[in-house]
Amino acid sequence: MPGLPQPSDKAARLIAGGASLVASSVLADAGIEHYRGSFENRAMVLPLAGSALSILTDTRLALGARASGGTGALAMSVHAANVAIGAAGLGFHVYNILKQPGGFTFGNVFYHAPIAAPAALMVAGTLGATALALGKGASRLGPVPLASGRSLAGFAAFALAGTSAEAAVFHFRGAYHNPFMWVPVVVPPIAALALGKAAVTGTVGRITNPALTATAVLGFAGAAFHAYGVSRNMGGWRNWRQNLIVGPPIPAPPSFTGIAIAGLGALLLMRRFARG
């Protein structure tokens, strides 16, 4: 691309792309949900700001920009901040649930601050930081070795499993009324298992790549299904201002795609490492 420096590293770009997708999913989802919550607590803008900045830096990297010197340090602090904001959000969401009458009940988990959602921002931050480090040619992120790709594979596996667990909870809340609601509960865990095994053993099994690709596709398909879900509410899309909020969250499923793409990046690293 003219004006941009040479691509630093294909894997780093892939991972940055994944991070950018996860951050976009957070921005849109938290945007809608926190708007619904009337930004009751001022801290509710933080994930929006953090994810927006993350999208900027990740996208630059994904497009092949070299991150070095001052911009690199700035970008790294954005990712660190996002991990921190995500962690704080996690705490807030758990607190929000526990303070409801009845405490930790299914009802409160279904209808109050979604427990696991802020973790997506932590995922975006971690993936962004990893991509940045790889882009700079670093072989470690802090104490974590990156070159073999195994740590990233393990992290992506964990993130996929967590996201799938979240889908399981919310699809249970929707009583799995549409059989397709089982797909994100079945496919990503297969990918997570395969990727997790690769992380542990250092060798990539045959189904890993197809399972990650399928997960990436279903993330986008999920957004389309959620758009259909929105249409099934009273007034359908004509009543979008209300139904975007009460219907299934359209921006949520693409975080599967983002994590799966980062997982594919990890596989690239692993193959390269294996070749020496």
């Binding site: 279904f110 009583a175 099934r232």
Partner: protein, 544 residues
Amino acid sequence: MSAEAQAPRALNGQAPDVFTPGGWVPMREYGEEEVDFLIVGTGAGGGTLACKLAEAGFSVVAMDAGAYWRPLEDFASDEHEQGKLYWNDDRIVDGDNPLKLGANNSGKAVGGSTVHYMMVSLRFRPEWFKSRSKLGYGVDWPLDWREMWTYYREVEEALSISGPVTYPWGPKRPRYPYRAHPLNGPARYLVEGAEKLGIQWTETPIATLSAPRGKAHPCVYRGFCMAGCSTNAKQSALNTWLPRALSAGAEIRDLAMAGRIESREGRVTGVHYRREGEWRFQKAKNVVVAGYAVETPRLLLNSASPECPDGLANSSGLVGKNLMVHLNQSVFGRTQDDARFYKAPPSLAVSEHWNYEDAGKDYHGGWCYMPPGPLAASWARLVAGKGLWGQDLLDEMHRYNNAVGLKMVGEVLPYERNQVTLTDQADEYGLPVPRITFSYGENEQAMIRHALGFMDQALDVVGITDRWQNPDETAHLLGTARMGSDPATSVVDADCRSWDIPNLWICDGSVFPTSGGVNPSLTIQAIACRTGDRIAELARRGEL
């Protein structure tokens, strides 16, 4: 508008499609030819049975005095307009505690009272089916709770009931098909109060959707449930059983008022009914009466003949007797924050504690409690009834957002003196107006005292101030054609078949021998499902 002035919609081989504005679905028509089953009333009992019988392959005509509405286009967010859903025909009430009839307890529409019911869908406590032998009061039902447990399940699935993941009381039950709804403001107060008092609570199993189902939308939590539900989230007979009945070949006749059942030589032969301004006769091999606990005995009594001078199916003398309601007294008060109790279906949380706990009671029977959510005009009527008027009433209405309350559903014992009889006065169809006589007994007074005291405490512990009691409200109508095991002390058997006339059946709230401390519609539908299965079984054995 009087029923006489309206035009029927289910005609010419089609019936309104309740899921599409202006839409139609095909409907089989039987003309005046003799059908296997003619059902009078299409509510919780009749609508459900129409579906079961049509799906079992019988020819079925189900008629209703009410109109055939399409919720999406016919239901306005207007309490006054929606009065069109209530049975407001003339009725005379007396006794020590004359009942208020109409909006609060009887519907007139295809779909019956379920079109404007509050959707609370609770199962009976198992012991209530044997309350005489197990608990020492009332009478035993001829039904076994374990069998009822499977029919409850059938209804819960047919209505996609939204309910808690696990239910805190009674024997194990399968998970509700849909998840419970979020708690609204007043439900949160109920929960906090129950936790403070150390008793159990749960999200109410309720017949409104928490996720889409077919063409029906999920609930939008606006709270117009009692005025009919314009989204089809409410799972009524109108949008569950009746569409199934139609596609299985049943005919539904709206705005068709049954006036008299014809009988000869110990069998019924058909029904005289009024539609489009004229009296007609529908022949049937079997007649099912499902008009709810006032209209059912009224029709049976009005069908007296020289052979049956006291009315049909009345050799026991019990048709019209043992009328029961539910105690529906409430306590209201004021919150500091906005509770908006009119938002969302009312009653999203419930405590059945006093249905399952017998210790410490000085009365028989059980009761549960949940929060009510009166719409504005109903609330204004209620607070005006306290003697507020003028500026005081306006001030109270300004505090509408801060009102919350708790309401009991309490068991009333069967007394023969509480009854439905006929008067000499004639209504718009020329039929005798019914007289409804009702008085509480000692047992009811004791239960009301306990419940009001307890609910007052449950509001007090969560900081509700300015509490006041509404000691005078009832809900639901039951028991005027009870089922039993002995023809001398009951009107129908366990299959809802009348003891006296083998091809006359009664399938609605009238057949309850006791009332239990929960809202009745789930049990009425479960009984109708069982009756449908039993009729099919009897037909297979050639015993119809």
